[in-house]
């Protein structure tokens, strides 16, 4: 009987690596392009809600292995029907390079052509076009997330334009260019994101260097409160013959909603948990994933599992309302998927039990709350003090901050709060305000070297 665990293989068996790191080779490849296109953000009501560059980064650096590019029509259909790539591997979302009919006409490209994609005025990547086809964006949005009729196990309310993920897909341009991406101009990650940038190959090397065999992932889009910290620490007691060697926080960096915390604040606030010693830095690592959140609860959990298994993570904690927003999915949809499967999404068994599934072990967690009678932050399945217990709420904490109340240490660590205030001074209020979002869309998270062709 083997009880000790090893780092899981990448999803699909090998890590995708589509980044040309030799500038001369990259330039040579870029020079062979048949046309040039400047990447544009996807807009909803005039505000950027997605930038395909983040998908290109996550694909080419291997986070989304074995996906290698923008999907063909046949692959898109398989994703929407069965959440599988044409190679059979589980994959939750469409990955598409969309452009307007007017831009397509101007480009004059056809199947077999190579398109150079420019970002911030510089060559960034190439797309080798295999197929050009059209989509109906509303239909894409509806089928991506599911409907109460087609997916009654988890979809409770029909998706509409109050859901930011629905708005992303329904704002796609009509024309899709399918094909593999290759980054030809290796980007430099901007500060402060540079120190949290651990693409799968680098993450795996880092885990090995630290002697981590078992690693648990914590998904975040928030500044950590003490409840998050308790969740991380306690979930990490799972492991093989001892608790997990490492805890990684993997923060989603991308377009966000006005009022959410800025990404800079989120990553540094999580880092502060280990700098201030609440979890030893030797056991805790903050990392990022470039992705514009779709808030797709069970489907988003699959994407998180793909990215984090590729990083070498063995366990993932799933909580209530995982990556969710609004009443659309069942509160426990992600946990239902990882406990029983969701047949209408192509999972008659959980994603770790199906063929070509994930090697990630789920850790379905209930809630942590503060109980004055227990005098601690405690697990909801332990504490029976229903009248006394106090649930954590990110919105409540944001209200405290807005009212100028220094949050008590039972809610938020003082060092974490000071990090929030540091970025408040720099970026202003409300968090993720219009000015910040517009500037961020111009700067993005990367810089590109000047590449003259």
């Amino acid at each position: 009987m083997e009880l000790k665990m090893k780092m899981p293989l990448p999803h699909g068996g090998r890590l995708v690596d589509r980044v040309v790191t030799n500038p001369r080779a990259g330039k040579k490849m870029a020079a062979t392009a048949d046309a040039v296109y400047d990447i544009k953000p996807t807009l909803y009501n005039g505000m950027p809600v997605r930038n395909v560059y983040r998908e290109i980064m996550s694909i080419c650096y291997g986070f989304f292995s074995p996906c290698e590019g923008s999907m063909t029509k046949a692959e898109l259909e398989r994703i929407l029907k069965e959440r599988r790539l044409l190679s059979n591997w589980v994959f939750p979302y469409p990955m598409l390079f969309d452009i307007s009919p007017e831009d397509l006409k101007k480009l004059k490209v056809q199947e077999g052509d190579r398109l150079l994609l420019r970002l911030k005025g510089q060559p960034f990547a190439v797309l080798d076009i295999e197929e050009i086809y059209e989509i109906d964006a509303k239909d894409l949005a509806t089928r991506t997330f599911g409907t109460p009729q087609a997916n009654p196990e988890v979809v409770k309310v029909a998706f509409d334009n109050k859901h930011p993920g629905y708005n992303i897909y329904s704002s796609y341009n009509r024309c899709i260019l399918a094909g593999k991406y290759t980054i030809v101009n290796e980007p430099k990650m901007r500060s402060p994101f540079d120190r949290f940038w651990y693409p799968p190959a680098k993450a795996r090397a880092e885990f090995q260097k630290r002697g981590w065999n078992t690693v648990i992932a914590h998904q975040t889009r928030n500044v950590p409160h003490v409840g998050h910290e308790a969740l991380m620490r306690n979930a990490a007691y799972i492991g093989d013959i001892k608790p997990c060697d490492g805890i990684i926080v993997n923060a989603i960096v991308g377009a966000k909603r006005i009022g959410d915390y800025p990404d800079e604040t989120i990553v540094e606030a999580h880092e502060m948990v280990n700098i201030a010693g609440y979890v030893k830095p030797s056991r805790h690592l903050v990392t990022i994933l470039l992705w514009d959140m779709r808030y797709g609860n069970p489907l988003e959990s699959l994407l998180h599992a793909v990215a984090r298994q590729n990083m070498g993570v063995s366990y993932h904690m799933w909580g209530r309302d995982h990556a969710a927003l609004g009443p659309y999915y069942d509160t426990y949809a992600a946990q239902i998927l990882w406990e029983n499967g969701v047949p209408s999404f192509g999972f008659d068994k959980p994603p770790y039990a199906v063929d070509y599934g994930l090697l990630m072990r789920p850790q379905n967690m209930a809630e942590f709350w503060y109980c004055p009678k227990c005098t601690e932050v405690t697990y909801s399945e332990n504490c029976n003090h229903d009248k006394e217990r106090q649930r954590f709420s990110g919105s409540f904490i944001r209200s405290l901050l807005a009212e100028g109340v220094f949050p008590p240490a039972v809610i938020m660590r003082p060092e974490v709060y000071k990090t929030v205030v540091k970025w408040w001074k720099i970026l202003g209020y409300p968090f993720n305000n219009k000015k910040y979002l517009a500037e961020r869309e111009n700067e993005l998270e990367i810089d590109l070297a000047d590449m003259k062709l």
């Binding site: 919105s395 405290l400 009212e403 039972v410 000071k418 205030v421 408040w424 209020y429």
Partner: protein
């Protein structure tokens, strides 16, 4: 039923000292935070959410991220009427138009808290 927590700092606690409101103060998080918890019927919640789009109902069924100017007006009305009944919110909502400028300014800027 939904709820709204009106936070009480030292000044607000002093303002309600000796009134019947004092007995209604709730300890949150083991007494680290003190608040008056108001019950909010569904219709009233909807009215506030629609008037102030930044406000959200959280998983505890508490109305949060209500503009500070509105929270201030609610506390002043509590102090005046010595009540935390739903009529307090009705009174504040009746003069919501007067708060619009303050709420608009708040959506552009809030001073950074002074900390060491």
């Amino acid at each position: 039923m939904n709820y709204l927590a009106v936070l009480l700092d030292a000044k607000r606690l002093a303002d309600i000292k000796g009134t019947a409101l004092e007995k209604k103060v709730t300890d949150m998080f083991g007494g680290a935070i003190k608040a008056l918890i108001m019950e909010m019927p569904e219709e009233q919640t909807k009215k506030v959410l629609s008037a102030f789009p930044a406000a959200r109902l959280d998983a505890r069924f508490f109305l949060e991220e209500v503009p500070i100017a509105v929270k201030r007006a609610i506390f002043e009305e509590i102090k005046r009427s010595k009540s935390i009944e739903p009529k307090v919110i009705d009174a504040v909502m009746a003069k919501a138009d007067q708060l619009k400028d303050a709420v608009a300014k708040e959506s552009e800027y809030l001073p950074v808290p002074e900390i060491d």
